[in-house]
Symmetry: C2
Subunit: 438 residues, 2 copies
């Protein structure tokens, strides 16, 4: 087998660039009516029958023979035992990663997540109270894409926010439990954990069952069924984003060893054939060098088939006129992961408006951020960084406005409010304000 | 006509309370398959044909005879003229309200919406960059429910966030323009405004047309078609919440004049027959007094029919054992508006976990908050305050993580990341980290 990874070679100077660029970027989720209908049925059934329905679907879809929901709950001692069964190096790495993720999210809470208030000159108090959600659900995929790091990235910000109860669900097809996932749940401080998955797990979290109280928000990635179930449950509960394929964009000035950049492109491509790796660089010779490293390194990679398909199908090496132009193009893409692989990352960072996470300088490989630098690895995909943000403490908090109008303040505000309320034809609003006038 | 407003009288001491309480609270949006299908068709058509489709739908649904999209754009001088045509008292009230709303949202941005970063002991930089959205769309309903205050409440936080372009859409059925809405757009500093509405307006904002660039996020309330269109456009663009009927909960210790509380209950009920007004109070005699004031004041209200239907159909006066129990019940309801009509509002406030906005003390009528106290009046409804927040500056900002790992930091983080990446079977991730090791 002689695999080839051939990302598209584009140049912004070409007259066909715009069309080629758009064609490469395009990705859209397929709406699947059959999945939608099955998911709607499962949600309604779990809402109606609770535990019994969850148990039936779980036994059927995951090939289990559990007798009750209780048999599907993982005890704290089981989670602890999983942690203790790991090699010391893995235990240490998990704990070190958890500590860094925790400390970053604590800084985030302090910077952007505290209550505040002030009084104006009339003695009127205005502010906002920031409080944690009571109870959240974390969906963790089972099987191939079971990532313990995702357990940390979802549970730790919830913990730091002060969420009272964190319920993890993770399917165990054919009963296979992933000890790293269970260990991560132990390290992250998950409150309860169930070996259930799919739409039935989302339904149990959203509506609650006899053995599980319903949650206020569900986060975490999943397959098409899970995504459809989350979308439908939205409104009953909050949800995080619906994630598309993962992406990396490397903005290179040519100063980083080409094999580092090639491996960074691989590290995205190895996730999934639909993952997207893009290099933007004003130096054509450097782009050639990266392609040579891609060719050289590919045969060493255990996941070379996925990498080759992803890079050939969706990857691109784009020659730009300048770093400035590369920054402009990056803003159009609004990538999930953006590496600024440059000697002068702080020169370019201010030009970068839209990205889930920005990795500055040659030493900051995306994979360090994926696991342990501290910031969250759950990031907006498919250009949604234009309007959305990394998962964070703020996703596990909500705000309530605080208003205490003083008697003096009511005299001024009452007249303004009454004037506008009459203008809108809402007389009770106006009268309520006027009643507070002396 | 002899209208009666008879909110349900419940008591937490009754054995039937739990069932009655749940039945009263229950509200759920109807999924309407016919609306869904029509909206899907309109969205696809506007995406395909742009201006031509928007123009056709607008002329058809709003009874207009516009020749081009250009004829549907409101110029800045038209907005200004609308403002100047208003009586001085209305002009002053609009400007005073706008100034207070602006100043509150500036405080909000300062408290919770600034970029931050720190360096750890290895010199690794971690942080988050907070940036405004480039372009947002604000949907303003036309006709009966045209609220100029909503223009302020949507546009001003976007402005304070630093959004580059704010596009307002407002339908004008039969060509009737609401001068207060146009004036509010002028005062709030809307960039462009179009007299289009419905699903076609949402589609134009989401996908862009020949004469309107697509936006990054759409906020603002609308009818069932607008809500369905926003839900479908979600993912292509961000959206704010999908609002249900408005609600007020008054927590009273009996110290506020009973007519004030009756009028506050009216001010919610007059919005809509589905609106919900609830009083929680440990003092049965006070509840009687409020009911007497309801009976006395109702005939004076121009919107008495709506008020009577809303209070009788969905309202409740609930006798609780104590203020503490009232707080617990309030948390279960998670109301949109929560008035703490008490002599000791700061005694109860810490017990209140879930609410869109909390109005403290007898002078703080909800209507003051609706118009001009400063905080936003776009608030989570139907119990979603359990997991969501008032519209705010943060809805018009997004965050990008910043990571700059130092050479020294990469030596430590690289080992942790590689250990975990190998554990997850992602070798390129591991190798990318290892390449940075000396």
């Amino acid at each position: 087998m002689n695999l080839v990874a051939s990302p598209a070679r584009l140049s912004t100077a070409s007259s066909t660039f715009e069309a080629e660029f758009k064609a490469r970027l395009h990705w859209s989720a397929q709406d699947d009516a059959a999945i939608e209908q099955r998911v709607a049925g499962i949600l309604a059934d779990v809402r109606e029958r609770g535990d019994a329905a969850v148990l039936e679907y779980t036994n059927r879809f995951d090939g289990l023979g559990a007798a009750s929901m209780q048999a599907l709950e993982l005890t704290q001692s089981e989670l602890k035992a999983a942690f203790e069964s790991l090699p010391a190096a893995q235990r240490d790495a998990l704990q070190a990663a958890a500590a860094r993720v925790r400390s970053y999210h604590e800084a985030q809470k302090k910077a952007n997540g505290e209550s505040w208030s002030y009084r104006d000159e009339d003695g009127t108090l205005l502010g906002q109270k920031v409080t944690p959600l009571d109870r959240v659900g974390i969906y963790v995929p089972g099987g191939k894409a079971a990532y313990p790091s995702s357990v940390l990235m979802n549970a730790i910000p919830a913990h730091v926010a002060g969420v009272g109860e964190i319920i993890m669900v993770v399917p165990t097809p054919q009963g296979a439990k992933n000890p790293l996932v269970l260990a991560a749940a132990f390290v992250a401080g998950v409150t309860r954990a169930f070996t259930i998955g799919g739409a039935q797990a989302v339904a149990a979290l959203a509506y609650g069952t006899q053995s599980m109280a319903g949650v206020d928000k569900i986060t975490g990635p999943g397959n098409a069924y899970v995504a459809a179930a989350k979308r439908r449950a939205f409104g009953t509960v909050g949800i995080d984003m619906i994630a598309g394929p993962s992406e990396i964009l490397v903005l290179a000035d040519g100063s980083t060893p080409a094999d580092w950049v090639a491996m960074d492109l691989f590290s995205q491509a190895e996730h999934d054939e639909l993952a997207q790796s893009i290099l933007l660089c004003p130096d054509a010779a450097y782009i050639d060098a990266v392609q040579r490293e891609i060719d050289r390194l590919l045969p060493e990679m255990p996941r070379q088939e996925i990498i080759a398909k992803s890079l050939t199908g969706r990857g691109a090496l784009i020659h730009t006129r300048s770093m400035e132009e590369a920054c402009t193009l990056s803003n159009r893409i609004a990538p999930e992961h953006l590496e600024v692989s440059s000697r002068e990352p702080h020169r370019w960072e201010p030009l970068l408006k839209h990205a889930g996470a920005i990795f500055l300088g040659a030493y900051t490989s995306e994979s360090l951020g994926d696991y342990c630098a501290g910031p969250n690895h759950v990031l907006p995909t498919s250009g949604t960084a234009r309007f959305s943000s990394p998962l964070g403490v703020y996703d596990f908090q909500k705000r309530s406005s605080l208003i205490e109008v003083s008697e003096a303040g009511a005299q001024i505000l009452g007249k303004i409010a009454a004037e506008l309320a009459y203008g809108e034809g809402l007389q009770a609003h106006a009268r309520a304000a006027e009643m507070r006038l002396k």
